[in-house]
Amino acid sequence: MKKVLFKNVLLTAALALVPSAGAATLVFGANGDPVSLESANITDGISILVQRQIYDTLVDFKNGTTDPVPGLATSWKSNANATQWTFTLRRNVRFHDGTPMNADAIIFNLSRWWDKAHPYGFRDQGRTFEIVGELLGGYKGDASAVIKNIVKVNDYTVRVDLNKSSSVFPNVIGSGYFGIASPTAIRKDGAKYGTPASKAVGTGPFIFQSWRTGDRVVLLPNKLYWGEKAKVDQLVIRSIKDASQRLNELKAGTIDFTNDLTPDALRSVQSDKNLVAVKRPSFNVGFMSLNNRNQYLKVAKVREALSMAINKKAIAEAFWNGLGVSNASFVPPVLAWANSSKVPSDYKFDPAAAKKMLADAGYPNGFSLDLWYMPVSRPYFPTPKPIAEAIAADLSAIGVKVNLKTEDWAKYLEDRNKEPGFDMYMIGWTGDYGDPDNFYSAYYGPNASDDINWNPPELQKLLEQGRAATSQADKAKAYAQIHEITYNANYRIPMVHSNPLSAARTYLKGWVPSPLGSEAYNTISLVGKK
């Protein structure tokens, strides 16, 4: 009897020491903490990822693609020259605080981002909404601003007038930065909105529960969600900065899925029977920029020779572990329709021909130049230094002596634009929305970096045409020409379009990673998670 009693006491004590297990808690390992939960006031991927669960955007994208589909707007149409966009809103949608989503709410959000004088923009308290300046040309009253006016047509129709034609406006406004928040919640919390001291309120599939900075964000399913309802009882987004530790957590089963593992983790994931490797569709480009100010690099034949001398495919295979493709396109494979059929897949890797080309250009003995590599890891260049070393080795084979250099990231970004700039440097881009304009304008557009000192008017004209084109055929035609010009110029040499490595436990089903970097987790279920 005593023995049984003692056993029971022990069992009870042991049970008391074990935290209660929730029925279905979905745990994501993010590579850091969100910066803010206030939409349009962020540019980092983790903030977008968390906001994607809480907020909806006017325009959404089909799972796993960059194809626009209805979000909070059920339909949208433009006038003939794409200077007016009219959005018809979804009815009977409410924010998590119970207030209605309607034209007033949409206008409130758009206006506070765009209008610097908006009383709820809190610019005097540190808000910058810099992404609006970046993607939409500027703010209310700016000559360069895309948006001219925002008009309420009726309770469920909003019209946005533009200063210039833009066929990509719905894609831009659908990007993850622009989640629609509850005006009531913003008015109530004021400048605290978006910080951990406030509750982020949207219409999305998950409801904000808590945020412990540096640790985790906890969300609960929105039972009244207008779309596909979440299949878990709780979503925990944990901040785990170190990629090796994220893999450890996944292997230990303390997280269910994660993003941004390094390519060398692929074999470790594949060899674990409890895990499945998930390759996110590529939506980036890693490239080398060549400066026209450099006495050697301003010669077209030299640039072509350099491109020809670098064994890009071998480098992609070695450093991306098969998680990337190398081709001659500046846009990722999902936007391949924007490529020109006249451009070959890439230059043939041919050091002998490249060496001859250098000699023809007047440099039979080669020359010396600096190659700057990034001090930080990005999906498009996960291990910049060894990649730079491989490039340097290839170039040395044709007589080009490369001095490898790097410096602090913020200084690197600053110095590339200073006179005379870097000779040659590594950089890249991850897209925001599914249009070639997002790639080409970022590095060749009127406001692009001054790093290559080459910006022909012809290219600017074509970029304008691409943005304004309302038919797919016109658009494809404009970008095909841009592809040809940029490929032949060789000022930016595409190296790779990588597939960022994600991974999940095998019991996790229904996850469809978006090329745009983040997706709502309402499609995910946990089948047989113990």
Partner: protein, 342 residues
């Protein structure tokens, strides 16, 4: 004692004022500003210029001839005088709030690491001194060497892989389990679990604390063991110890009552210095173990050039180190009655 204390506090205040000025100038002297870091790959000259204006970074540092108060330092000092350390440039989260929530995490980890270092380091040092040139001495020396030379990030990952992934005994990282519902009270989660009457949560927090504490405590452990050994060997060779032996006292009494107490003075100094170093040196451990403390937060802010966070973090760390050193200095008197404060 009273006047000594007042003098030390005033000196600490002066140090704080000096540090506030130095950190203000230093962070702004580093090339690459917050606007560039915020914009990342988007940092074109025009975009950086626009954002600098929006953030007020284009204003003079110390004196604006058009409006003397409209300069960065006067605004910073005026806010500081009111206890306002500003808000994160990117996050808009008040620095004071973040310090309040992150300091307990760093302090809990540092205390646990120090506890681990003392519990292992002190006996190891004593044993090595008492059994000089024995297997124990060699073992303690080897452990010290390994502790000092092994990089913390590597040790952390190794511990996590072995104890969490392979053996499944301990969680790989974080402060609490995924389904924890613990509401912080003091911010020291082990304590909070007990105070809230949730022993399971306290146990959960303790389990999460073990691996990072070992990783962070490895270097102080090695240093404490080495200092204890050399200090104790020095004391054991003193005349008064020989006298005690001649009097026929047992080795145990000689060691614990006479030698150790005197040998502890340099050890306490090192512990004080290590406590400061732990707070600053927790950066890697916090990053590896996803520990939401001050170290990883300030480190991230440095790469982002988030001035208010760097300034607040440095001022706070300086304050903690100053206070710790003051406490160490005050503890000398209890160890050595000859020491008096004037």
């Amino acid at each position: 004692m009273g006047s000594y204390l007042i003098r030390r506090i005033l000196r600490t205040l002066l140090v704080m004022i000096g540090i506030s000025l130095l950190v203000f100038v230093f962070v702004r002297s580093i090339p690459g500003d917050p606007a560039t870091a915020m914009l990342g790959e988007r940092a074109t000259p025009q975009a950086v210029k626009n954002l600098r204006t929006q953030l007020g970074l284009d204003k003079p540092w110390f004196f604006n001839p058009a409006n003397p108060l409209d300069a960065q330092y006067p605004k910073y000092v005026a806010a500081l005088a009111k206890g306002d350390l500003g808000s994160g440039i990117k996050s808009n989260i008040p620095v004071r709030d973040e310090l309040g929530s992150r300091f307990p995490a760093t302090a809990e980890l540092s205390l646990a690491a120090l506890f681990f270092a003392l519990v292992i380091g002190l006996p190891a040092g004593i044993l090595a001194a008492l059994r000089r040139n024995s297997v124990w001495d060699n073992l303690a020396t080897t452990i010290s060497l390994v502790g000092v030379s092994m990089p913390v990030f590597w040790l952390g990952l190794l511990l996590s892989y072995f104890f969490a992934v392979k053996l499944g005994w301990l969680p790989p990282s974080a402060r609490l389990g995924n389904e924890s519902t613990l509401e912080p009270l003091t911010g020291f989660y082990v304590l909070d679990g007990l105070l809230r009457g949730k022993p399971a949560e306290a146990w959960d927090a303790l389990r999460h604390l073990i691996l990072p504490a070992i990783a962070l405590g490895s270097i102080p452990l090695a240093i404490i063991a080495r200092i204890t050994r050399s200090s104790l060997l020095d004391v054991l060779g003193q005349d008064y110890v020989r006298t005690a032996r001649a009097k026929g006292l047992s080795q145990r009494t000689i060691t614990l009552k006479h030698a150790l107490r005197n040998a502890l003075l340099p050890v306490v100094t090192v512990i004080g210095l290590q406590a400061g170093a732990l707070l600053g040196g927790a950066v890697l451990t916090e990053t590896i173990f996803s520990w939401p403390g001050i170290g990883s937060w300030v480190y991230e802010a440095i790469s982002q050039r988030d001035y208010p966070i760097i300034q607040g973090g440095v001022i706070f760390a300086a304050l903690v180190v100053s206070v710790t050193n003051l406490l160490v200095d005050l503890s000398y008197a209890s160890l050595d009655p000859r020491i008096q404060y004037r």
